[in-house]
């Protein structure tokens, strides 16, 4: 029941916002109420309403196609739903008193996108999963194309076509899997019981992987991402990078690795190689960026690269770290985007070369930025450290012959992330003030509150990561131990 509500609240909120949000205030109020209610409900779902009966929901839908409307709030989904609820609520607070063109549609689309993403995190049926996957995409298409920057139409269309291409291949893979199941069912459990041969696993992996790799994005499927992040309005960019990319990770963990474990191991070296190669590649490009948004976009590719590699490292440590990092990365990157947005709103530019000396006038902003940036580099005592350390350890423990190469390259990426992040802080916040940065960056009370909460979350989970780790402990341990490949061995 609670799973259904988590999906329904944003859906209804979105519809209400479209219909009733004519005034500027009304739409924002609906947005705050809807996201607030959802956050409260999600927290309740984590704690006191933790019974399995409440967390599953199933209804008959498209049964002649072998599908059903079944949702469940499982550990991995819990982390992601919590993240989505927190990010949206913080965003709602942040948007207080901000002027948005056509607010009813803006907040309406945002809420519909949230409904789609929640659906993706909850779906227990492959076709339903695909429906939600697309339901999350369409609102993003409109959000970026209507409210974005000057090159928005072409850039968003590129994003859409990329994602849609991945999606249809995913759909083909899912239909094929369904046709193999004895009961012709799209249910996750039915597909998990399939006994696929090594060859089948291999080509199905490559059919399904692009959808998730494009969404993440993993190198070399990333070319849509910096453009889209740059052109999209910053709140939408925040949703895209904090929450939406996590759909890709969830796809890998729930809809790819358990289905094709052998192929994932076979191709693991290639995919992990691409992923860690992408880290260095993106970090080097981030280093040379002059635009704050593009810098954060490339840094996001780098961080996601490590997460993608961890998913294929195939051991408990890496998965545990990944689950933690899903949450931590979402919070950190949200902070980064909001700070970039603050600078751009106040000073009218986000060119690093035009900025400088912000620390003299805006100490609050600087303090927030430094803490969040340090979390982004994964310094100890921040939440970024816990996740990246675990993933790194997991990468070293992977059963690949090249584990030390992978780890070394990924380590280089982490060093580079310190280089470009600290370099950015030096040139934006320190040094001489100039004409552009003459006036201070004003941080209003709601903005301060939001940033304070983000910093609090960064430090809290940096110091006490255990509650979040406990949530996914069992999941990480079971993910690979449950895989049964004994049928592939020849009987003697």
């Amino acid at each position: 029941m609670i799973a259904l509500l988590i999906f329904l609240i944003p859906l209804l909120g979105g519809i209400i916002s479209f219909v009733a949000g004519a005034g500027k205030k009304a739409a924002h109020t609906v947005f705050v109420l809807s996201t607030g209610a959802l956050l409260a409900l999600t927290l309740l779902g984590m704690t006191s309403w933790d019974q399995p009966a409440l967390q599953r929901f199933s209804a008959i839908w498209l049964s002649s196609l072998g599908s059903s409307f079944s949702l469940a709030l499982l550990p991995l989904g819990k982390v992601l739903c919590l993240l989505t609820a927190i990010v949206y609520f913080l965003l709602a607070l942040y948007m207080t008193n901000k002027v948005v063109d056509r607010p009813a549609a803006f907040y309406g689309w945002l809420l519909l996108a949230q409904a789609g993403m929640m659906g993706v995190f909850l779906a227990m049926d492959a076709l339903l999963f695909y429906f939600f996957w697309e339901l999350a995409l369409i609102p993003m298409y409109f959000l970026c194309s209507i409210w974005g920057g000057p090159r928005r139409i072409a850039v968003t269309f590129k994003f859409f076509v990329y994602t849609f291409l991945g999606s249809v291949l995913l759909l083909a893979g899912l239909i094929y899997l369904q046709s193999l199941t004895p009961e012709k069912s799209f249910a996750l459990d039915a597909i998990l019981k399939l006994k696929l041969t090594t060859a089948q696993q291999s080509w199905l992996l490559w059919l399904v992987l692009p959808a998730f790799a494009i969404k993440l994005p993993l190198f070399p499927f990333h070319t849509w991402q910096p453009d889209t992040y740059e052109e999209a309005p910053t709140p939408v960019t925040a949703v895209l990078s904090a929450v939406m990319v996590k759909m890709g990770i969830l796809g890998l963990l729930r809809w790819l690795l358990p289905f094709f474990p052998i192929a994932a191991y076979q191709w693991g070296d290639v995919i992990m190689g691409l992923a860690v190669g992408g880290i260095v590649y993106a970090s080097l490009i981030a280093w040379r960026q002059d635009d704050l948004k593009r810098l954060v976009a490339y840094s996001s590719i780098a961080h996601i690269g490590l997460m993608g590699a961890a998913a294929f490292a195939a051991n408990t440590l890496a998965i545990q770290g990944l689950c933690f990092q899903l949450f931590a990365h979402g919070i950190n990157i949200l902070g980064m985007w909001l700070l970039v947005d603050l600078i751009e709103r106040n000073l009218g530019t986000r060119k690093i070369s035009e900025l400088g000396g912000l620390a003299q006038h805006s100490p609050t902003l600087t303090l927030f930025m430094i803490i969040i940036a340090l979390a982004n580099i994964a310094l100890p005592l921040t939440n970024g450290f816990v996740g990246e350390l675990l993933m790194f350890t997991g990468l070293l423990a992977t059963k690949s012959n090249y584990y030390w190469v992978l780890a070394a390259v990924a380590g280089l990426g982490i060093i580079l992330s310190a280089v470009y992040t600290l370099g950015m802080i030096r040139s934006v916040f320190y040094g001489e003030r100039n004409a552009v940065t003459g006036k201070p960056v004003l941080v209003s009370v709601p903005e301060q509150l939001v940033l304070f909460v983000i910093v609090l979350l960064v430090l809290f989970f940096g110091l006490f990561p255990q509650p979040l780790l406990d949530m996914t402990k069992e999941y990480a341990e079971q993910l690979f131990s449950q895989v049964d490949i004994s049928y592939l061995f020849r009987k003697f």
Partner: protein, 456 residues
């Protein structure tokens, strides 16, 4: 049988109505009432109620599939008349005659959906196409319309000749025009049979505008008055598809190995040529003509796979494709010009019209939550078991189709308007359009309401 008889009769009623009634609106309402009655009678027949029992000596058989398809077609015609009926008045003075011809076409569609004899197939196809030649050229003072009509007539007559030749050869091999029941004699002359069958395949490919027999389509669809293009590209095309499925399912099931690969090649070519050429069009009308070729490519997957999924899917395809395309054309007939730029900023001025159009285009592109997605889903599912390569190719082509369908959405929502001029979208039209859009969405959410009619 009900709808077939009454539609032929109502055509005559319309012709006389045109002489007796002078107000065009009344004539139009008479036609709408006629289609509504047809739909009612057809639905009644699905419940087992017949006007008169006629012995067709097994040449026609109205089974559940045929009746359900007829209901879908008639419902689409009803939507079509309600949405675009008024645009017909602008073409010429002979409104009643146009409508009478539409009723004759409808009776032809009822025939090709239920034929059991190759003769009836030929008869039905001719009854469909001859009125269409006239309707294509109905804009008499327009040179393009005349050219289109002549082109359509020449190529149509040519393909009818091929059709007849094919029927003759099959008759020679079987000694009967019947679709089924003569399976024993097939062994007699297999080469004659195969030759006839391939000629039939070519002729049907002509009629559904499948590549490489599609060359007439863009010119004819572009030249014909937009109202009639809408009719030809949707209901008629779907009806001929149903005929094709029925023909190859009932008559040539045993020779499936011989024609299946030809159909696969035709489907692949149609998908490729339709989608790629549509990308380069500068006029929405012409783009829709190529899009109809592309969609035909998808429907050909049903002929290729020829299993239960495919046949169920074709019904869904018929409904969602027809409704969406009729809706788009209805808006197009009310536009000042047919370029993509004409749609700029439509969302700001007519939000509901734009929203409906967006749903139609999303459905044609096959985005989930619309009928178009599930229709494509059925086709892919049907074909995937036979040929993964063809199914993947079709999906890739669906991605290409996003390019040209989304151009209109981009124009409506994201591009500013240069000089806003008032368009004729009144309240009732907008409401009706929204209703059709809602139907398309419902098909995408609960397709079982439609499919279940086949079995219960």
């Amino acid at each position: 049988m009900n709808a077939l008889l009454v539609s032929a009769l109502w055509g005559v009623v319309m012709m006389f109505g045109g002489i007796l009634i002078k107000q065009t609106a009344v004539v139009r309402y008479l036609a709408i009432a006629g289609v509504a009655i047809l739909l009612g009678l057809n639905l009644a027949e699905m419940q087992g109620w017949q006007l008169i029992a006629i012995d067709t000596t097994g040449m026609l058989q109205f089974d559940t599939y045929a009746l359900l398809l007829n209901s879908i077609l008639l419902a689409a015609v009803l939507c079509y008349l309600l949405l675009s009926g008024s645009a017909m008045e602008k073409i010429g003075a002979n409104l009643a005659d146009y409508l009478a011809l539409l009723f004759f076409v409808s009776s032809g569609m009822m025939m090709v959906s239920a034929f059991e004899s190759l003769l009836i197939l030929f008869l039905g196809i001719e009854i469909i196409t001859i009125p269409l030649y006239i309707l294509t050229g109905s804009d008499k003072k327009n040179l393009k319309s005349n050219e289109a009509s002549l082109k359509y007539f020449l190529l149509g007559a040519f393909s009818s000749g091929i059709l007849l030749m094919g029927i003759t050869l099959v008759y020679g091999a079987r000694g009967s025009f019947a679709l089924s029941g003569v399976a024993d004699s097939i062994r007699l002359s297999i080469s004659l049979m195969i030759a006839g069958m391939l000629l039939l395949l070519i002729a049907m490919a002509f009629k559904v505008s499948a590549a490489p027999f599609h060359f007439w389509t863009p010119d004819v669809y572009d030249g014909a008055p937009t109202v009639f293009t809408s009719f030809m590209a949707t209901v008629v095309k779907v009806a001929v598809f149903a005929a094709m499925v029925r023909l190859f399912d009932r008559s040539f099931a045993l020779q499936q190995n011989a024609w299946q690969w030809w159909v696969a090649v035709i489907a692949g070519l149609t998908l490729f040529i339709g989608n790629i050429t549509a990308v380069f069009q500068q006029s929405v009308k012409r783009m829709l003509a190529y899009s109809s070729i592309a969609q035909a490519g998808f429907m050909l997957l049903a002929v290729y796979a020829m299993n239960t999924t495919a046949k169920e899917g074709l019904l869904l395809y018929a409904a969602s494709y027809s409704l969406a395309t009729i809706g788009i054309f209805a808006v197009l007939t009310r536009m000042k010009d047919y370029s993509f730029e004409a749609f700029n900023g439509l969302a700001g001025r007519y939000p509901w019209v734009a929203a409906s159009l967006a749903i139609f285009f999303l459905s044609l592109a096959g985005i989930p939550l619309t009928g178009g997605f599930l229709a494509k889903f059925y086709m892919i599912k049907a074909a995937l078991g036979l040929s993964i390569g063809l199914a993947l190719f079709a999906l890739l082509m669906a991605v290409v189709s996003v390019y040209y369908y989304f151009r209109v959405i981009q124009a409506m929502y994201f591009k500013p308007v240069a000089q806003p001029d008032a368009l004729a979208f009144d309240k009732s039209f907008t409401g009706l359009l929204l209703l059709v859009a809602l139907l398309v969405v419902m098909l995408g959410l609960f397709p079982e309401w439609l499919i279940a009619c086949l079995y219960f």
